[in-house]
């Protein structure tokens, strides 16, 4: 049906787009969660949570669908990574559960300890999710010790090293910055001023960690830039990323937070794009035995399944995009304190 189209590469891109969509969308609501402890009053925290209320679980669906697409298109990658990263993934699940429940429960009781408990749960879970994702991405970039039977041969503590910690921290900083811009877009008055101030700190925090990440990547994972050395025109990608990042503070000082939000979204997109470019055609590079890597050729589903899923995506995705945009439009503008669910 699809002739000689390289469906494996297309699905590498689709999985990447889904996970990038997740990072951009859930990134801002994770960021809002991280900023909760920096607010002063209960009303402020309610406004923050209500700003993400209508959209957070739709955002999380991007992770669910990304995981499903990975399962379907590259079953071996799904199996190896999910079972290999057993402990971090169980932690991730606990965090996702706590977040979902905390936002739903926190305003159901008036007591201070009740609200504090759920607010802290929400916030800590948001930090941990970002950290775990950064650590997971770093380990894939560095290469995993894979066995000949495609299984992960390392342990839990192997996952932590300077590069993974820096990438975890960078992810936290990036989502904090992204979330603070969203909070500025959605709030008024004093809270808005406070968020504007916080966004400056978040931008500096991100600038520092991003610089650090660039250094540790050159030291520990220089192969991530191999393709750009071979094909210099690809240098456009990091350039766009750099310009997008630099544009964030520029737009924020001009009070154009909408443009700043687009810029930080582009930054997230290009960073993940560079990640994808760095590992392609591998999905899970193997170190120290590169020949054991899981690639888009040896870990892929059958041509028939890829064709079927392409049809599903072609039919379904335009609808998803249309109503997602429509729903975001319904909830555009500042949070109205008179109409809060949480």
């Amino acid at each position: 049906m699809f002739g000689s189209l390289d469906l494996a590469t297309i699905w590498f891109l689709i999985v990447g787009v889904l996970l990038t969509g997740y990072a951009i969308l859930d990134g801002f609501d994770l960021g809002v969660g991280m900023l909760l402890p920096f607010t002063k009053t209960d009303q402020d925290r309610r406004l923050m949570l209500n700003s993400i209320g209508p959209v957070w679980d739709g955002n999380e669906v991007w992770l669910l669908v990304g995981g499903g697409a990975l399962f379907a298109a590259f079953p071996d990658v799904y199996a190896t990574v999910f079972s290999g990263f057993y402990i971090p993934f169980m932690l991730l699940l606990a965090c996702l559960i706590f977040r979902a429940v905390a936002i739903e429960f926190r305003s159901k009781e008036p007591g201070a300890w009740w609200r504090n408990f759920w607010d802290w749960s929400f916030s800590i879970a948001s930090y941990l999710i970002a950290l775990l994702m950064g650590v997971a991405l770093s380990n894939i970039a560095m290469g995993l010790p894979l066995r000949p039977d495609k299984e992960y041969g390392g342990g839990f503590w192997n996952l932590f090293h300077p590069h993974s910690l820096v990438l975890g921290l960078t992810t936290i900083a990036l989502f904090m910055m992204h979330g603070s811009i969203y909070a500025v877009m959605k709030t008024d008055g004093e809270l808005n001023t406070a968020m504007r101030r916080l966004s400056k700190s978040a931008m500096i925090f991100f600038g520092v960690t991003y610089g650090l990440l660039t250094i540790v990547t050159m030291v520990f994972a220089p192969h991530m830039a191999d393709k750009i050395r071979e094909l210099p025109w690809l240098f456009v990608l990091p350039l766009i990323g750099f310009l997008a990042i630099a544009n964030v503070p520029r737009e924020m000082t001009r009070n154009r937070e909408g443009a700043a939000f687009v810029s930080s979204s582009v930054a997230i997109g290009t960073l993940l794009g560079l990640f994808g470019l760095g590992i392609y055609p591998n999905l899970v590079p193997s170190m120290p035995n590169p020949e054991l890597s899981l690639t888009i050729r040896n870990a892929v589903a059958s041509q028939k399944t890829l064709e079927t899923m392409t049809v599903i995506a072609v039919i379904g995705v335009p609808f998803v995009l249309a109503y997602t945009i429509a729903i975001y439009r319904v909830f555009r503008g500042k949070v109205d304190p008179a109409h809060m669910h949480y």
């Binding site: 209320g53 209508p54 959209v55 679980d57 739709g58 999380e60 669906v61 669910l64 669908v65 995981g67 499903g68 697409a69 399962f71 379907a72 298109a73 079953p75 071996d76 799904y78 199996a79 190896t80 990574v81 999910f82 079972s83 290999g84 057993y86 993934f89 991730l92 699940l93 606990a94 996702l96 559960i97 977040r99 979902a100 429940v101 739903e104 159901k108 039977d149 495609k150 299984e151 992960y152 041969g153 589903a301 059958s302 028939k304 399944t305 079927t308 899923m309 599903i312 995506a313 379904g316 995705v317 998803v320 109503y323 729903i327 319904v330 909830f331 008179a338 109409h339 809060m340 669910h341």
Partner: protein
Amino acid sequence: MNVEILARLQFAFTTFFHYIFPPISIGLGLMLVVMEGAWLRTGNEMYKRMAHFWVKVFALVFGIGVASGIVLEFEFGTNWATYSRYVGDIFGSALAAEGVFAFFLESGFLAILVFGWHKVTPKWHFFSTCMVALGSTFSAVWIVVANSWMQTPAGFKIVGEGTTARAEITDFWAMVFNPSTVDRLSHTVVGAWITGAMLVVSVSAYYVLKNRHLDIAKAGLKMGLVFALVSCGLQIWLGHQSAIGVAKNQPSKFAAMEGHYDSDKPIDLTVLGAVDEQNGRVSGLTLPGLGSTLMGGPDVRATGLTDIPARDRPPVQLTFQMYHLMVFLGVALTLLVVVANVLLATGKLWTNRAVLGMLVGAVVVPHVCNQAGWIGAEVGRQPWIVFNLLRTSDALSKVVTAEHVLASLVMFIVLYALLGALFVYLLNKRIQEGPEDATWPENPTLDDPTGSVKEPLLSEAKR
């Protein structure tokens, strides 16, 4: 304990907890469509207050359903990696379809349902309600398709050998409409309708008994009882179809369900009893040969457990008891619903406190049936994870140890016990607060998303 037992326990426990919520979403979602439809058609504000109350309950249920559902999607990979490699080509495409067609739909439009009362017109809101109901039903479709494929695989070929063997799709529609999909999907969805209807019935009956919110309670009770009557009637027929399907496609499961040992003898129907696995017989209240009669005639025979090699037999007692529990409670619930409908039609229900009391308690019955039915279906498939193709013991993650699984199992038990207790507490609180009374919305509160007095869109619905 070994990894297999622990991994199975963890999957069973996390599925059990998750499956409290989706049937409510599916059934209540459909009820919400009826409630909002009634509001739009009649312009009666009472229906809006009713829908508004139940949307809050729906949101609570949905939130926990999503969070506990992510766990299941991840567990295929974390605990059942070999299974994931084996079935990924088939299972994955159903899961991806579920994401694209169901999850985005429900979670997207749920935003409008809960947060959008004052943001969109009533028609838009009604449309969103329909989309949420549709989305939650779609999610049942794809996951039951995938599960049915594990019961009755079709439309595939096995590629590779030994440890690298995997199932690959050859015919997508044969996979989707495998021999058990239609039976099992309809049985599951109608079970969810009963669950949702009985929740509305139970809470409404409680209000009638307490003499509270009578307008909404009586309307809700009528709506729920009629809905439950139709669904229960349909379910008995669908359950029967399912049993015939199992007898045809999965003889070992059918034999365990009925405690049927001798292939040459007619199938007995046990009302209440226990399997004596040592001596290969069932003791208890048994109607000889009635099973055969129900399956088509007194001469109908089915493979008995003695003709199935011991290593291919499912655990008999558990499968038998769960199946019988489901049927017994299902029939009892149907009788209660019939009696209540007769009382409703003759106008005697509102004063019959005994029946109203039973209706309040009956909210748990569909849940017990749902869980028992699933335990019967999944345990009855053992020792296979994919029937006659892949053994459960061969499907585990190779690198995950018993200690890992034990730790995560303990984590889930603690987490879900906390969640379950909080859910019951908050649900009860919501029910005690009840829907807004007829004076609403003249006294809006901060917590009330629809508490707008100057609501220009409300009047449109009356026209």
